[in-house]
């Protein structure tokens, strides 16, 4: 009865929380449950550690998790721009989460140990993987140490650099998964390229 009802922010969803557990998109005021976002009421259940059925009620906009999240969430594939490269971290700005582009850029960190799968600590310098002003595909992951920023990882074959420019702003072309070559000078540089079809290309004229 409740499920799949359309609600607007401020609409009452339940008189009391009852046996449900509060999910996202809801708030409690005067012990009543109101919707805080517009969407459909959804109830789902899962079994916790002691094998009790927990029913969670939430308001979501669509089935897809991507559409419901307003922030970069754990496991999301994001497109980010590398802003600066340090010894242990690269500073990145998340440009888009999945297909959605936000007005605000979220700053994120790409730790060195999350560059390549199965290799916890690398002796190779950072610049062999990413350099400033590269556009990368990365996955948001959780890190126990870093709590104030989003932590990215490119430790998958499909993740890595997708777009990069050379010293003079010229686009770089992929040679293989670990090398790019400048279209202007012919110089090769190491990168960790994402194993994705190179469909997105930079305009050929250089941008100052």
């Amino acid at each position: 009865m409740l499920a799949e009802t359309l609600v607007a922010p401020g609409d009452k969803v339940l008189d009391a929380i009852g046996e449900y557990r509060m999910g996202k998109g809801l708030y409690e005021a005067n012990r009543r449950i109101f919707a805080s976002v517009a969407g459909f009421v959804n109830v789902y259940g899962f079994r916790d550690k002691s094998d009790n059925l927990v029913q969670v009620i939430e308001v979501r906009r669509s089935e897809d998790q991507l559409d419901n999240e307003l922030l970069p969430f754990h496991g999301a594939i994001v497109t980010a721009k590398v802003m600066a490269v340090g010894l242990r971290f690269a500073k990145c700005d998340i440009i888009s989460i999945g297909d959605k582009v936000y007005k605000k850029r979220f700053s994120a960190l790409l730790p060195k140990k999350k560059l390549r799968p199965l290799e916890p600590e690398l002796s190779e310098p950072f610049k062999n993987f990413v350099r400033p002003n590269d556009y990368i595909l990365a996955k948001v992951c959780e890190d126990a140490e870093i709590k104030d920023k989003f932590v990215l990882s490119i430790a998958e074959d499909e993740l890595g650099v997708v777009l990069c420019r050379g010293r003079f702003g010229e686009p770089m072309q992929k040679v293989d998964w670990n090398t790019v070559v400048s279209t202007r000078t012919g110089k090769t540089e190491p990168r960790k390229m994402a194993k994705v079809p190179q469909k997105c290309t930079l305009p050929t004229q250089s941008v100052a």
Partner: protein, 876 residues
């Protein structure tokens, strides 16, 4: 000749005519300039009346009519400024309408600078051409002088200071001051010398009035309503307001300003200071004479010099009186009790008394001599009425008498006797110019408004009504008197309260001011630090006040008591709590700009919802129905529904009048379509990957299915032996190790052939020399092999045989032999009975040697163990 003679005459005439012309021109010019100046002054006055920014301007500005008017006048002013400056020849940069005031001032200053510069350059050019005498810079025209203009006296005073070498002037001043200070030291308090008694008790003040001069009969029972134009207060209310009766209350309330004082009269210029006789009054006879003179004059000016540091209530040290042509200075100390006779002229309503800033003077006269003032004109009040820029006496004399008063003696110690000439002069000047200033003020007041003069009189008589009251000691007075830098705890509060009280008691007893006994800052530092001993008290007070030194014991007692006070937590006041909450960001009930934005109507989290009380009453019958279900079309939720994707043509927005270039747009859209975002690439990749995986899985399944058709290859012990070639070298391996080599478990073991035989039977197929052990054996096997090899070596060394493993029998016999042969009887058991020696390094019952890696530790352990060995008794 005559012609020749006439020539100079004509020239003279011409020059005279020219001079005449120039004079006329300058006169006209001067008139113009004067007019401009006057207009300018008027402009300033008018502009002061306009609403000011920060006061009323914002309010007025909210009215559109005012706003537009202001804008228009600003435009007009700008145009005028532009015109004026252009006509001068140096056009100014006129700011835009609505520019800030700073911008305007900047522009105007720039323009003025330009004008001045231009004038200077022109003047310079004329000078070069030796024509500068033609252009005479006109004199400064006084009339619309700026307020900060220095008068001649002021300028000359400044000149005196700056004409000489500044260092010498300063040094001279310093020397003078030091001499003065040395002279002005008061060795004995005049209260003591002249036996002036003062009542410092808490008792209310009683008037010293002995004879009430000029008393009018008080008619009781008649209520008078004084409705005259001066706007004086009601008789009744004024009477009830004054708690202690003023002796002259009736007279003051009934006082009507003499007609002559309200009329315009000639301003009588003061006589020069040196031409005016000065009389020092210090005997009763002289005082009587003064009273007589004062009774005969129409008006006189009065000023007092007061001292309050070394007296609890304060002490009037000097009374200066000026009539039109005489100055008097009364030294009241020798004739303290007789000064009261001055009450006769002071209370006379027909004689005008001119004071400046009389609010405290009137009270001091009452307190010390019982002299009351009726018919007072306060120049300070008049200056306020005329809205002068300053209200000081110095400004008054400067303005009217053109005399600069040296105010350096204002705070001097006036108790010092004999009075020095400089101080006498200073005291004299205070009143000397006051009567003339009064004349001028009166004229100006009459010019401004007829009512103003009457108002000044009524306000002045309000000052006369004041009754002297003794200061009442307020035990918590320090809370208002002193600004605290810190909050007091209970101990500090105790100390401060008692120090404050002690200070007051001492001050009353010794007839000193409380500040002289213990200044505020010392009292604070004492109560803040609560020193433990006398040294600490002295450290808090620098320079050490006389009474602190004398009565250190009292202070110490207070502080010791304060230290014993229990420390209690003082609850915060409501305001402090509010401030603290605000600092923590807790929202109060007060609404301001931010909270009003933050507070949402549907957000109840900040309201005072009482959890104890439970839910707010809600009509249960309607429960569940208080959400009205709306159609999707009705509600705004239809936004959520995905709209139809409009066609490209309808989406193109073009400027009016231009045709939409569909082809271009399509081209652009195509280009845009070609661009693939990285995430789309990723998605494509993931899809292809999934497909691949699917295919792989399918492939695997298919293979499985294919394999499922074939019979499964199962091995069992019943299967025919598969002839597998063993892959090891029998020469290097023992039989037992061979068995443990984890080979393929499926590989069936063939029991019959021994490895030796195998290797010997088929040496051609398998050449072990081609392979190393590492290649052939597993790690475990390698290890075993190595172990075995070592063992073999050992054995061979000890027993002198090549290999023992292949010959177990012999080994066995080796083991058995010594067991049987040993004879216990023969053996010497004395070695066991002795305690074990240190040299037996091998003995280590707790394996200390192996546990400790560090050598030193090991040595220590050895020592320990040796000690232990020493104690163990092996006998029993």
């Amino acid at each position: 000749m005559s012609g020749e003679e006439s020539m100079p005459d004509e020239e003279q005439k011409q020059s005279e005519e020219e001079e005449e012309m120039i004079r006329k021109r300058t006169l006209a010019m001067r008139k113009k300039v004067e007019e401009i100046m006057r207009n300018g002054a008027g402009l300033v006055r008018e502009s002061n009346g306009l609403p000011k920014a920060g006061a009323d301007y914002e309010l007025y500005n909210s009215y559109p009519t005012f706003n537009t008017f202001m804008k228009r006048s600003e435009q007009r002013l700008n145009a005028l400024m532009n015109k004026v400056t252009k006509s001068i020849g140096c056009a100014m940069r006129v700011p835009d309408v609505g520019s800030s005031v700073e911008h305007y001032t900047e522009c105007v200053i720039e323009a003025q600078d330009n004008i001045a510069e231009r004038a200077a350059t022109l003047h310079e050019a004329l000078k070069k051409a030796e024509l500068d005498e033609i252009v005479k810079v006109p004199e400064f025209i006084t009339k619309a002088a700026p307020t900060n203009r220095k008068t001649e006296a002021e300028v000359s005073a400044a000149m005196r200071t700056f004409s000489a070498n500044i260092g010498t002037v300063l040094a001279e001043k310093f020397r003078e001051r030091r001499e003065e200070a040395a002279q002005m030291v008061v060795l004995e308090k005049p209260q003591k010398t002249y036996n002036i008694s003062s009542d410092n008790s808490q008792a209310p003040f009683s008037s010293k009035l002995t004879v009430k001069h000029h008393a009018i009969e008080k008619r009781t029972g008649i209520v008078l309503h004084d409705d005259d134009e001066s706007g004086r207060r009601d008789w009744i209310s004024a009477e009830t307001e004054t708690e202690e009766e003023h002796p002259y209350i009736a007279e003051i309330l009934h006082f009507k300003v003499p007609e002559a004082q309200l009329k315009s009269a000639e301003c009588l210029k003061f006589t020069a200071l040196k031409d005016t006789p000065l009389t020092m009054i210090d005997t009763k006879e002289k005082l009587e004479a003064l009273t007589k003179t004062l009774n005969s004059v129409k008006e006189f000016a009065v000023d007092l010099e007061h001292h309050q540091m070394r007296s609890y209530l304060g002490l009037t040290c000097l009374i200066q009186i000026s009539t039109r042509d005489e100055d008097f200075i009364i030294d009241p100390f020798p004739i303290w009790d007789h000064v009261g006779m001055l009450n006769e002229p002071f209370a006379n309503p027909r004689i005008l008394k001119v004071f400046h800033g009389s609010d405290s003077d009137v009270l001091w006269l009452q307190r010390d001599y019982g002299v009351h003032v009726v018919n007072l004109f306060d120049t300070y009040v008049a200056m306020k009425k005329l809205k002068y820029p300053k209200f000081s006496l110095a400004y008054l004399t400067l303005r009217f008498a053109d005399v600069v008063l040296d105010k350096q003696y204002q705070l001097a110690d006036w108790r010092a006797r004999p009075l020095r000439n400089a101080m006498i002069n200073y005291a004299r000047e205070d009143t000397h110019y006051l009567l003339y200033s009064y004349d001028m003020l009166r004229e100006q007041l009459l010019k401004q408004d007829t009512k103003d003069l009457a108002n000044v009189y009524s306000e002045s008589s309000d000052l006369c009504i004041k009754v002297y009251k003794k200061p009442v000691f307020n035990p918590k007075g320090y809370l208002t008197e002193i600004k605290f830098r810190f909050t007091l705890n209970t101990r500090q509060d105790y100390a401060l309260t008692h120090l404050f009280k002690w200070r007051d008691v001492v001050a009353r007893a010794e007839d000193e001011s409380p500040h002289f006994v213990l200044p505020n800052h010392m009292m604070l530092s004492l109560s803040e630090t609560l020193p433990r001993d006398v040294g600490g008290i002295y450290a808090c007070c620098n320079p050490l006040p006389y009474f602190v030194k004398q009565r250190t014991g009292d202070i110490l007692k207070i502080i010791v008591e304060a230290r014993d006070v229990k420390l209690e937590k003082v609850g915060l006041s409501a305001k402090e709590r509010n401030d603290a909450q605000e600092a923590r960001g807790v929202m109060n009930d007060t609404m301001d700009h931010i909270t009003s934005v933050l507070k949402s109507k549907i957000d109840f989290s900040h309201t005072r919802f009482d959890e104890e009380r439970g839910e707010i009453y809600i009509d249960k019958t309607d429960e569940g129905m208080d959400i009205e279900l709306k159609d999707h079309k009705e509600s705004l939720l239809s936004v959520l529904q995905t709209a139809e994707i409009p066609s490209v043509e309808t989406m193109i927005v073009v400027e009016k009048g231009k045709k939409s270039d569909n082809q271009k747009v399509k081209k652009l859209l195509n280009e845009l379509d070609k661009f693939v975002t990285p995430f789309e690439c990723y998605q494509m990749m993931m899809i292809t990957k999934e497909k691949q995986e699917e295919e792989e899985r399918k492939e695997a399944e298919r293979k499985k299915l294919e394999e499922g058709d074939l019979p499964k290859t199962m091995f069992s012990h019943h299967d025919a032996p598969i002839n597998r070639k063993p892959e090891f070298d029998a020469k290097l391996l023992n039989v037992d190790t061979l068995k443990l080599v984890p080979d393929d478990p499926n590989k069936p073991k063939d029991p019959e052939p021994s490895p030796m035989e195998e290797s010997s039977s088929e040496p051609q197929i398998f050449d072990p020399s081609r392979f190393t052990d590492d290649q052939l054996l597993s790690k475990k096997a390698m290890k075993r092999k190595r172990d075995a090899a070592r063992r073999n070596i050992d054995v061979s060394v000890v027993l002198g045989e090549s290999s023992s493993s292949s010959d177990p029998k012999k080994k066995k016999s080796d083991d058995d032999a010594p067991v049987e042969d040993f004879d216990y009887e023969k053996a010497d058991s004395s070695a066991f009975e002795k305690p074990v020696r240190d040299n037996n390094a091998d003995f280590d019952p707790f394996h200390q040697k192996y546990r400790l890696k560090n050598k030193t530790k090991k040595n220590m352990a050895m020592k320990k163990s040796s000690n232990r060995q020493g104690t163990i008794n092996y006998k029993k």
